[in-house]
């Protein structure tokens, strides 16, 4: 537990100190900001849904959309088919809204609550640094409400809209109305329905026709208050012939009770457009005894129109239980879907992840490269679906699914599904399973490479193909994250 005083004394925290701390074995982001939060009472019913909508001053159509989703959710059952076991969240025992009190937006960072700013610093997001060097625009979500948005002006000049979804509902309702729920409908699944009813914030991005977004767009999320779920909703629309690269990074503080994270991400790539969506996820994975940690149940899906392309690059190292399948609907002819992923599980983590590539148009192509690393007593499952519909002429798919096991107590599982209704489809699937053994470590040791470095070397070699797909600035961070999450995994 970090006290207010402790926190204030760290005001002069530097980047160097942060780097040094990252080198220690503790979960670096295990702290929480002691800020007054405006939290709704626990439980979920129509009144809560209305209250959330009211807090955000939403127009009636949005409130109605939420209520519709809520009515679907009430009739749905929690899915049980994933290869994971966990204590079911009690949906009536969590609060669905929590916002730091100083919620209204500011024009300059000087006006933001200094405690919040310090939180960002500890997260490694030095706003100044990023502004000057990387040129990355950052939209930070702190406990359900976006707190700071920078670079809006620069992007605005190109006609690019990058803001919180709450703001978009107010300022660009026609865009939101047109696209929200078109890729992931309210009824899609249990958690999507829940999200649709109670989402409190997220990112909205619109790239106009022919515009190439000049910088990596990035968002950081944090789950702060105990017992609050995090339900963010993201909508990215790339209009015809546009391009955007979007990076999502997530962290959460140490907590004993499990926290729920049920997000929905919808991507729409219109004709000839391209969306690159990268995620580096480091939610709290639970401690070494398997207690605590985040439940990460996410629905992510992209829709491609003609000659459009969507790439998902995912690096997951956190969460106690992960259940997600970033997918592509290849609706337009000549559209392309790509999925590159590294999922790491250690100690008692469980992951059931993968992707779905739905080939609808003609001459569509999809590529899946999935790397699973299991250590400790964890269970890591890959579940992939390649579906080729009747009229999808000349569909092409290549899938490669590799598992790396560290030690004897962990598990790796693969559930590849291929469904094709068209004879011209060409589908390839390769899979490998390997183990890091003590003899590999000793071999490295004998060459002068210590055990920690040896594991990093081996894991890196294994993950290279996917790490190369990440935007450069974040590939290094991801690499470091892999090393940290696997420390102590080979005894």
């Amino acid at each position: 537990m970090f006290l207010r005083n402790n926190f204030k004394s760290k005001m002069a925290y530097t980047e160097e100190e942060l780097k040094k701390e990252l080198e220690t074995k503790e979960y670096e982001y295990g702290f929480y900001t002691d800020i007054e939060s405006d939290t709704l009472p626990i439980g979920l019913n129509e009144d809560i849904v209305r209250a959330i909508s009211k807090k955000k001053n939403e127009p009636q159509w949005m409130t109605d959309w939420r209520l519709e989703a809520f009515s679907y959710w009430k009739q749905m059952e929690e899915p049980e088919w994933a290869n994971v076991t966990y204590q079911k969240p009690d949906f009536q025992a969590i609060s669905y809204y929590s916002a730091p009190v100083s919620a209204p937006k500011y024009d300059s960072l000087d006006e933001v609550d200094p405690e919040l700013l310090d939180t960002f610093k500890r997260l490694g997001i030095s706003m100044d640094e990023q502004k000057k060097l990387a040129g990355v625009a950052v939209d930070v979500v702190m406990d359900s409400v976006s707190v700071a948005t920078s670079f809006k002006k620069t992007l605005g000049e190109k006609g690019i809209i990058f803001c919180s979804i709450s703001e978009a509902i107010q300022k660009h309702p026609e865009l939101v109305k047109k696209y929200l729920g078109t890729v992931v409908p309210q009824k899609d699944n249990f958690y999507a329905a829940l999200n649709s009813a109670v989402f409190s914030d997220g990112s909205f991005c619109y790239i106009p026709k022919g515009v190439r977004c000049p910088m990596e767009l990035s968002t950081y999320f944090r789950i702060n208050q105990a017992g609050t779920g995090q339900f963010e909703r993201t909508l990215v629309i790339a209009d015809e012939s546009s391009y955007v690269s979007y990076l999502e990074g997530c962290t959460a503080p140490t907590r004993d009770e499990n926290q729920l994270h049920a997000a929905v991400v919808e991507l729409i790539a219109l004709d000839d457009a391209e969306i690159k969506y990268s995620t580096v996820q480091n939610w709290f994975p639970g401690n070494k005894e398997g207690k605590g940690g985040v439940f990460n149940f996410v629905t992510k899906r992209g829709l491609c129109e003609k000659r459009a392309k969507i790439s998902w690059t995912q690096v997951e190292t956190g969460s106690a239980v992960t259940w997600k399948y970033p997918s592509c609907i290849l609706k337009g002819d000549h559209s392309v879907g790509e999925f590159y992923s590294i999922a790491v599980t250690n100690n008692f983590q469980q992951a059931d992840t993968g992707t779905k590539m739905i080939h609808l148009g003609k001459n569509t192509r999809s590529t899946i490269i999935s790397k699973g690393i299991s250590a400790g007593r964890s269970q890591n499952s890959y579940r992939g679906l390649v579906q080729v519909h009747g009229r999808a002429e000349n569909a092409r798919n290549f899938s490669q699914c590799d598992s790396l096991l560290m030690g004897n107590a962990c598990g790796a599982h693969t559930f590849p599904y291929i469904e094709t209704k068209n004879k011209t489809a060409q589908i390839e699937h390769e899979a490998t399973t390997s183990k890091i053994g003590e003899d590999q470590i000793f071999y490295c040791n004998q060459r002068g490479i210590d055990t920690e470095k040896a594991i990093a070397l081996i894991v890196n070699g294994f993950s290279k193909e996917v790490l190369n797909k990440l935007p450069m600035e974040f590939a290094v961070e991801a690499q470091k994250l892999l090393e940290i999450s696997l420390e102590g995994s080979v005894g």
């Binding site: 004998q446 490479i449 890196n460 070699g461």
Partner: protein
Amino acid sequence: MLRIEDLHASVEDKEILKGINLDIKAGEVHAIMGPNGSGKSTLSSVIAGNDYFEVTKGNIEFLGEDIGELAPEDRAHRGLFLSFQYPVEIPGVSVTNFVKTAINETRRAKGLEDMPAKEMLKMIREKSELLEIDRKFLSRSLNEGFSGGEKKRNEIFQMAMLEPKLAILDETDSGLDIDALRIVAGGVNKLKSKDNAVVVITHYQRLLEYIVPDFVHVLLNGRIVKSGGKELALELEEKGYDWIKNEVAV
């Protein structure tokens, strides 16, 4: 350079080395021969620092320092090299990347900076030519899909790159055809100098035709039972291990 005194080692409570004594000086080539199960590989593993084996008695001194408590990587940093009998595979890590990491980790341990890329490339070119290794080979994953001969050649390539003070070659000749044997032995001979030493562990006399030993030791049931010059190897070849067993039993 290497002094072993009354070394006893066991694994899972079974004693394998029962009092080994060995003295190796710079510039010397020692051969250790013995039948299967005599403890040859255990000896090389223990010297290298594999904690799978427990040293129950005796000590190992390397360059005047007792290395018994040192981790394997620390022993390597001091110039100890083991060419493995069964080199392990490391997928995704290229030979070049592996060797580069090994060299730089050793340099860092000595407080030196990483080897500059140009120098590294030059060295790689030289040593791969020495061992007649195709450069395309170097970008392959370490030992993945390598034939027995390729694996052993790769071990000696690493030895050439790391330039150790003491190299232990554990059954480097097993699985090699005549040509591979010639190349590997040629490489080892070129690396020999008056400042380093080599220990060749083998069943057969054949390798010793190429890498000529100064001393031959016979290992039987965890003990060195006989030592001699290179003629001893020839005698063994002629008379077989039973001859030694009988001699010792008397």
